[in-house]
Amino acid sequence: MPTLDAEKLKKEIVDSQIWRSIFRGGIWKDTPRDRAAHIVGNVWLHLHPVRVRKRALDWTYSWGLGGISFVLFLILTITGVLLMFYYRPTIGYAYRDIKDLAFAVTLGKLMRNMHRWSAQAMVVAVIAHMARVFYTGGYKKPREFNWGVGVLLLTLTLFLSFTGYLLPWDQLAMWAVTVGTNMAGATPFLGNEGPFGAAMGMHINNDVRFVLLGGTMVGENTLLRFYVLHCVAVPLIVGILLILHFWRVRKDSFSAAPYQAGEEKVEVWPNLIKREYVAMAACLLFIMVWSILMNAPLEAIANPNVTPNPSKAPWYFVGLQELLVYFDPWIAGVLLPGLIIVGLMAIPYVDNNPKGIGTYAWKDRKFANAIFTLGLAMWFILIFIGYACRGPNFFWYWPWESWLTPKAAPPLTWNLFGPDPKWKLFQTPNLSAFPLWIGIPVMLGGFLSWLVLPKLLQKELNGKKLQAAFIGVMLLFITGLKLGLHVPFGSGLWLLFFGYLAFYFGFILPQRYIRSMDWARYLVTMVFVIATMGVLLKMSARLAFNIKYVLTIPTVSLNI
């Protein structure tokens, strides 16, 4: 049998002086001590502990999502470095080099496909990893900080994708980045088109967008900036944060569940390592097969004068793009993303529920799970709408509808509260129905009472009765609108649907579950809850009644 010789040979190699000088740990005797030495003595493996709790190894606990995200990051690094050998970040060459990769470089197409698809898979994996950690309560004490690092890593993953999108210099690149950076131009105070921007002396050539682009439009400087950000600056930061993230995972122990007496621990080598290898190989295989079967898209060469129709962002930003249909750029492009990031990072500090750590505990964490799931679902529903339901001119086309069907022009929009009111509901295109002196107190008062009411009601209200009452009142209201103002019933149903969601998630649930929180945590939570519900309500106002702004103060560009 040749196996015997191989065994002997292997032993000779492993025990040789050269081998032992590279891998620390003395003669291999395959004892628990040897295995521990393996982990501790290897720079790559020492991010692992020597022994790990058995429950942390369950596939159905972690799903390997963090590891898969990291594998995808590695695939991206390696393919990215290879792509850099054939890519020049200048307007004259960038597009041609991508064509060369597709047509003339050995395996160039595969590398580019793998890079593109891994990037998209990484976005999915990182979001899924975050959801998994949330549902198992993995962010709770003492892991608050690491959750925050994770949120930053998610943000940077998206930013890496965004910067990478410009590099092929095609139409998708040009317009995704034009729109994305124009949102930066709508930043309050710092952008030339944002609220108070003019008061701060912002112009097109000195605001935050100008810095980002290195010019007033997407051009040669932008390409170079995004190239450096994409290939050097951001990966460096991600790398540092990854080390921090892994270190804390290891130090805070792999599973968050409280210890049970006499709980069994097993050796990381080979129990965890072999799982990691399988996850890595499966992930790599998946990306490779996908990259063989499907080519990364490449549009026509960038043209600053021609916008594709419809023009869509990369899919994971399409939800944001859909929000931009309903809100002013500084709200949808700056405020809401900012709130999402800050809100996610605040979760561990406001959620002081000690239950549900290290397990999928639906019953013990109803409020947290409900709100988080609603937010996640909204994100993906918005993506679905933007990706599948928008056609030419960003009109609404159902997925089964042909984009060649002509569509009626969209109805004229109007505002609910604003200056120069016309006092006529539904009949004042582009004008306001009610004056600001009603609007501002109503909006402020509504917001404040919504903010505090759930906590001020000390006794838990009967949710079923409340819901029934709410639906009843809404139905009466809709009938009134139908009879009095001839509002179509369909519009009323939109209002009922979104209104009910906002009432249930924004009032009933907080009243039931978090009214006993301390004021600070309660208020922070409610601000984020109300912001989420506000998005829903604004969408219903637009979809049902063509309301452009609920409240508009044009003099300071404040439009809600």
């Binding site: 196996t3 991010l47 695939i75 390696i78 050998f85 003339a104 793998m114 892994f246």
Partner: protein, 190 residues
């Protein structure tokens, strides 16, 4: 494109066979349905080595570009009949060669001093090439007659197409007496 040591997720290939075999359930070497566990695992390791090796080889291949954006090393120097006897300098600026016609035919010298790469000049009155950098002198055949140059000037591969035009290929060179006077570095023409 993965490398053998992907941090944290992959064991070192040559260290692991033993340890995987020695996982908590000790691997029984007993043959099962004709194939022993050891041989079965061996396929996995071989596949892994093949994959990593294949990808490394492919990556090496990746670094050899299939197209380059340099001017073509080949160029069409026009009909032979247009050339006069002696050193023709008309291609010096564009292609850095001298087309030389003697009584027997044509050869083409690459205008690069074999000492350190400067471009020599042709002095018809002295009938020699002189390099401005370190003073190497060459005969019209390209042989060194003065200065530090270690070897004669290179001759380019030349060919005549069916229209009687001279096709020069600067990628193929020869300077050895005996070889350089023969096809494909010399074209007979009278």
């Amino acid at each position: 494109m993965t490398e053998p040591n992907t941090p944290s997720s992959q064991p070192n290939p040559s260290q692991t066979p033993q340890s995987v075999q020695n996982s908590p359930k000790p691997a029984a070497a007993a043959p099962k349905s004709g194939v022993s566990r050891g041989e079965f695992l061996w396929i996995g390791w071989a596949a892994m080595v093949a994959f990593v090796g294949g990808f490394a080889a492919a990556t090496a291949r990746f670094f050899f570009p299939n197209v380059i954006y340099e001017p073509s090393q080949k160029f069409n120097a026009g009909p032979l009949k247009q050339y006069d006897f002696g050193v023709n300098t008309q291609w010096l600026n564009e292609e850095r060669v001298w087309v030389i016609r003697n009584t027997k035919g044509f050869y083409v010298l690459w205008a690069r001093c074999t000492h350190l790469g400067c471009t020599p000049n042709w002095f018809g009155d002295q009938h020699r090439f002189k390099c401005p950098c370190h003073g190497s002198n060459y005969t019209i055949e390209g042989d060194v007659i003065a200065g530090p140059a270690p070897r004669p000037l290179w001759r380019c591969k030349i060919d005549v197409n069916s229209k009687g035009e001279l096709i020069v290929d600067k990628a193929v060179l020869q300077d050895l007496p005996g070889l350089r006077e023969k096809v494909p570095f010399f074209v007979e023409y009278t």
